[in-house]
């Protein structure tokens, strides 16, 4: 098991993730992720799709891995990375089920996912984490190493391999149908909206 619960109640996650790891996570769980994340957003997903359709090898093996939807700002000299918060996940919805089908276990972003993505999380045992959108300066502290894996010509949209330590996130959609956004509104909506 690479999911354990720390003394402060936050779940410590080590990558890569197994089906069992994913099953142990529930919507609303706060997590710290240590290990490897791959970055990919719109343009990179656009290049992965034809490879997936033709059954060709991807620039990284998605099995057990987590994709972080982000395009970092440039690093200042001496820094690992610039600002690196999540981008809106729904723009990747059309690509996500097929990546989960290839063994991808997690995605990190912000905002709603489509029903087909939620269904695929259940079918393939996957999890969608939320990171705090717009907290790019704070989140940069958790990135210890960065290297470009593919599509360097895409600039900020290139696929990067990040080594992270204690990257903070929260489970938004789990593999059991749980949805933090729905639970949150249910808990805090008041009359008169």
């Amino acid at each position: 098991m690479s999911v354990t619960t720390a003394a402060d109640g936050i779940k410590e996650i080590g990558t890569p993730l197994s089906d069992g790891d994913v099953e142990s996570l529930r919507a609303g769980d706060r997590v710290r992720i240590t290990g490897v994340l791959y970055t990919a957003r719109d343009a990179a997903h656009g290049r992965l799709l034809p490879l997936i359709e033709k059954g060709e090898k991807l620039p990284f093996d998605p099995r057990g891995q987590i994709i972080y939807y982000t395009g970092p700002s440039p690093a200042r000299p001496g820094d690992v990375v610039g600002s690196i918060g999540p981008t809106t996940a729904s723009r990747m919805d059309t690509f996500t089920p097929s990546l989960l089908g290839l063994g991808l276990k997690g995605t990190i972003g912000k905002g709603y996912r489509s029903q087909p993505v939620k269904d695929a999380l259940r079918a393939y045992k996957g999890v969608y984490f939320g990171a705090i959108g717009g907290a790019g300066a704070v989140l940069s502290q958790f990135i210890k190493k960065l290297s470009i894996v593919a599509y360097e010509d895409l600039g900020t949209e290139a696929i990067r391999r990040l080594e992270v330590e204690g990257f903070p996130a929260i489970v938004v959609n789990d593999c059991h149908g749980g949805d933090l956004y729905q639970d949150g509104v249910k808990a805090y909506a008041r009359e008169g909206a």
């Binding site: 200042r76 905002g111 709603y112 907290a135 956004y181 909206a193």
Partner: protein, 280 residues
């Protein structure tokens, strides 16, 4: 006539772009503190605390508040007694954007064409709106507008019969559909009236008013307060994790309109509300 050389404009825009992305304005910092006092949700409170910490880290470590350092939207109020010398106004502004984004380690987020999507590499061009009026000063207002929230901005042509009640429902609907995608707590810029494009431009310009300041029109002020209260009853909360702080503010600008029309444009802005201005 008063001469203003383009180099002064370029230098000013460069500085505004860098500072907007690194130093959040005091109105935003006050909004975080105010929301922390009212927010009931522990998850919501934690998000607000991290965002405050993020603003502090951006300021001290000179790393952008958000990795999406925005599309530069520039409103210029050009006094008609100002003579811009040494080149064109738009070129001067775009040179400032180019220098600011390159030298400030800010992200290049603009593609040269919506179809071929090749990044211009220096975040140019800006979107520039110029108003000419009396006077001999040049006021430059710069916003670094994030793409995620911009994508949730909406437009609707209502009928005059739908009236203020229809406008209210539409604005609340816009908050709901923006939800967690647009990085709440949100700020809404609303343009009502004018033509199709006039209301959209007003919805952007409305965002430059200081957050927490009253609308100068008492009726609009009451409308803004009512809508903000309603938005914060939706339960969406900071980042959509549930809570009482879904929006920090709703700013409305209006313009006369045609007897057939009631256009309403809503620009959705995230908590990374990066705006700066200077008068030359």
């Amino acid at each position: 006539m008063r001469d203003v050389h383009v180099s002064a404009i370029t230098d000013a825009v460069k500085k505004l772009c860098i500072e907007a992305n690194l130093d959040l304005e005091p109105d935003m910092l006050r909004a975080f503190d105010g929301a922390l006092r009212r927010e009931r949700s522990p998850a919501g409170k934690q998000v607000l605390q991290i965002l405050k910490q993020n603003a502090e880290m951006a300021r001290t470590r000179r790393i952008p508040y958000c990795q999406d350092t925005g599309f530069v939207v520039c409103f210029v109020e050009l006094g008609q007694d100002v003579h811009v010398t040494g080149g064109g106004l738009d070129d001067a502004i775009n040179d400032g954007v180019r220098q600011g984004y390159t030298e400030g380690y800010l992200r290049a987020s603009i593609v040269r064409s919506p179809f071929d999507r090749v990044n211009t590499g220096d975040n140019t061009p800006a979107v520039i709106h110029v108003d000419v009026g009396p006077g001999a000063t040049l006021r430059i207002m710069v916003m670094a507008k994030g793409g995620g929230c911009e994508n949730r901005s909406k437009y609707k042509m209502l009928t005059p019969a739908e009236g203020v009640a229809g406008v209210k429902e539409w604005i609340i609907e816009c908050v709901k559909t923006a939800g967690p995608d647009a990085c709440p707590p949100l700020i809404l810029g609303v343009g009502v009236g004018g033509t199709f494009e006039k209301s959209a431009i007003l919805s952007k310009k409305a965002l430059f008013r200081e957050l927490g300041s009253p609308n100068p029109d008492p009726q609009l002020d009451a409308l803004e307060k009512e809508l903000l209260d309603r938005a914060n009853r939706l339960g969406i909360g900071p980042q959509g994790y549930g809570g009482d702080t879904t929006a920090f503010g709703i700013h409305i600008l209006t313009y006369p309109c045609h007897i057939t029309s009631l256009p309403v444009a809503v620009t959705i802005e995230c908590h990374a509300h990066r705006h700066k201005e200077v008068t030359l």
